[in-house]
Amino acid sequence: MIIDLSPTEDQAMIRTSVADLLDSVLPLDRLLKDHNHLASAELSSWSSFADQGLFGLAIDTESGGTGYSIAEQVVVCNEFGRHLVSPITMATMLATQLAVRAGLTDVVRSLIGGDKRAAFANPVANIDYNAGGTAEVQVIDGTGADYIILIDEERALLFNGNACEFLRSVPAIDETINIDRLGLPLDQTLVHSKDDLSTCRHHTLMLAAYLLGMAEVTRNMAVDYARIREQFGQPIGKFQAVKHICADMAVRAEAALAQTFYAATLASVDHPNGDSEAASARLIASRAALDNARANIQVHGGMGFSAECTAHFFLKRAHIITALNAAPLAAQSKILADLEPLS
């Protein structure tokens, strides 16, 4: 198998246009100002995201989408991570995908068109799907969401937002997102897909791409700061200790990039190793995002520890995304499964 991991022309174009849009409507320093209460910045740009076709990127043109694959979706999620965009964007992409599979054309149209949106549910304990009843979950930036999506390694469920029971709001480790505790009515699903592994795989890859974006930005922030911050009469980037911290950040970001893009390429052709490679990508990207966030704070010193620099948001968000629908044991067995030789 020969894979070219360089961006195709389309991919490069998609990246540029999404990056330009996000740079203008969701610059990172928005988070220093108002903490982005209830994803307000994202919601006020929601229609421009829809106009760029982001919510139907990997949906067939017959179903109203743009007709690209998971590879292009990964490019977009990578930019989301670089801008710490609320996960409701990814939840909405995945909700569209689920609705297409279930033939809910109205839902598909409203999601692609930017009229409706979805949010991720994160289980706080194991859910017994056979028992029915209500499952308690965290929902990320889900206040007012039209749909709630619950994904684990082997199934995906879609709920109507107003069918869910609001329990309480909880202050989160990441003050730029909002967590509500909700009760999900397990017997009132809009979609309950038990073997749509491709949606599960896409979820894994999109989170990996998002985490990768965070690992890249923190590497860049640390390098930029090390170039200008002076101590002992020279830029701190001249000290080997700082150089080596930055070099290790570069290794982690490059590793996450290579594995995420490789896995996305396999997933785009539904390769049988796709699940294992995607699980590996999420594992590597999670570690890269967390470790680079920590290293970036350390390079920034006192500024890194203060709330006046954006460094800490990457640490907090890395914890949120790493814990989102995480099933470490299931991921482990996917990684350790028997694989097909790749050539």
Partner: protein
């Protein structure tokens, strides 16, 4: 290696324990503002009135002149009793006071020492600057001599409790021609003096104990200089307080209790109803075992430092080793809490404990008071003798 058995020590411990048991404040310490100051100074006054203030200070200055072992017993019992940390009184009692005792004039001592011991005055520290963090000697806050006064212009940063402090230990450049370690003076700065403004800095955990302090033509009488003019670097560097290795006891006991709390969490069946507990997962058990071994080791390292100080007058540079071990360990302990709790670890109030806050706060140890990188340099050069 031996256990020091002494009935005098045992009696002392009993006495300390009994007093702390009856006197440790039962109410929650307020997190900010005047109420916080009141709490901290009141607790200092309570200790002072009962004869427990200035444990390590010489008796001639109103201290208790306790032996190192007595100090260690006090710190152990203090932490075990859950007594509040020094808070706003910390700089005054452990740093400013000892510095004045060693280098101050009789007048400075007579005025300040009683106020510190009795909890009347709160001190803060003005060493770091926006342009001089790890590189303290690069400080540039200017003090121009104008008759009997120093006129201060510049700013300091990472000053804890500046909002509620009465005095500040302030390092300024008194010789404008000088650079680096020369031409720096150590000055007592009245925080109520005109020209001082204080801006709180929010930390990433959401606390705002840190401040930036700005000096705009602040006039300080020359008799507030401690030691001599232009001799401040030596004073700042030689005064390590009198605590001789006992200061980490509180951190060590807190960290050890945190690991015990994690162990309790890991032993509780999760809400899935399967009856399985996290500790049944050998990777969780292995990680907790390592952390527990490491907090035990931190305790032993503290004990080793104190043991060395029982036999030598001046504490050696090995203290940096314990500090580095502690700051790397603290972050891993609290990170484990977040991992162990899973999604619940993302929420700021879990059964009454704010794990995210504690986790985020733990990042400060590897940055404040010398980054881990600076500590490694220090260990390499001063402990191991590698070339500068």
């Amino acid at each position: 290696m031996q256990i020091i058995q002494s009935s005098l020590n045992d009696e002392f411990r009993d006495k300390v324990r009994a007093w702390l048991h009856s006197n440790v404040p039962k109410e929650q310490r307020p997190k900010r503002g005047r109420a916080m100051r009141e709490f901290d100074t009141q607790w200092q006054r309570t200790q002072f009135e009962a004869g427990w203030a200035g444990l390590a200070w010489p008796r001639e200055y109103g201290g208790q002149g306790f032996s190192l072992i007595q100090q260690m017993i006090w710190m152990q019992e203090y932490a075990l009793a859950g007594a509040p940390a020094g808070g706003a009184m910390f700089v005054a009692t452990t740093h400013a006071g000892p510095t004045l005792i060693t280098h101050g004039t009789e007048a400075q001592k007579a005025f300040h020492l009683p106020k510190i011991l009795s909890g009347e005055s709160v001190w803060c520290q003005g060493f770091s600057e926006p342009g001089a963090g790890s590189d303290l000697a690069g400080l540039s806050t200017k003090a121009q001599i104008d008759g009997e006064y120093l006129v201060i212009n510049g700013s300091k940063i990472w000053t804890s409790y500046a909002k509620v402090a009465d005095y500040q230990e302030l390092l300024v450049r008194t010789d404008p021609q000088s650079s680096r370690h020369k031409g720096i003076s150590w000055v007592i700065c009245d925080m109520h003096a005109p020209g001082i403004s204080v801006r709180p800095i929010m930390s990433m955990s959401g606390l705002d104990t840190f401040c930036e302090v700005f000096y705009d033509d602040v006039r300080i009488p020359l008799d507030r200089v401690v030691g001599e003019l232009n001799n401040g670097w030596r004073i700042a560097m030689t005064t390590l307080g009198f605590e001789r290795g006992t200061a980490t006891i509180a951190h060590q006991i807190e960290l050890s209790r945190t690991v015990d709390a994690l162990l309790e969490i890991a032993k509780k069946a999760d809400s899935s109803g399967t009856g399985e507990t996290p500790i049944d997962d050998t990777s969780v058990a292995a990680e907790l075992a390592v952390l527990r071994a490491e907090v035990a080791t931190l305790r032993s390292m503290t004990s080793l430092t104190i043991s060395r100080n029982l036999h030598q007058d001046v504490p050696g540079p090995e203290g940096a080793i314990v500090a580095l071990f502690f700051c790397e360990l603290a972050r891993r302990v609290y990170a484990m809490a977040i991992t162990l709790l899973g999604p619940i670890g993302l929420e700021r109030d879990t059964n009454g404990r704010d794990w995210p806050l504690e986790y985020l706060e733990a990042y400060k140890w590897a940055i404040g008071g010398g980054t881990s990188e600076i500590r490694r340099n220090l260990i390499a050069e001063r402990v191991l003798g590698l070339p500068k």
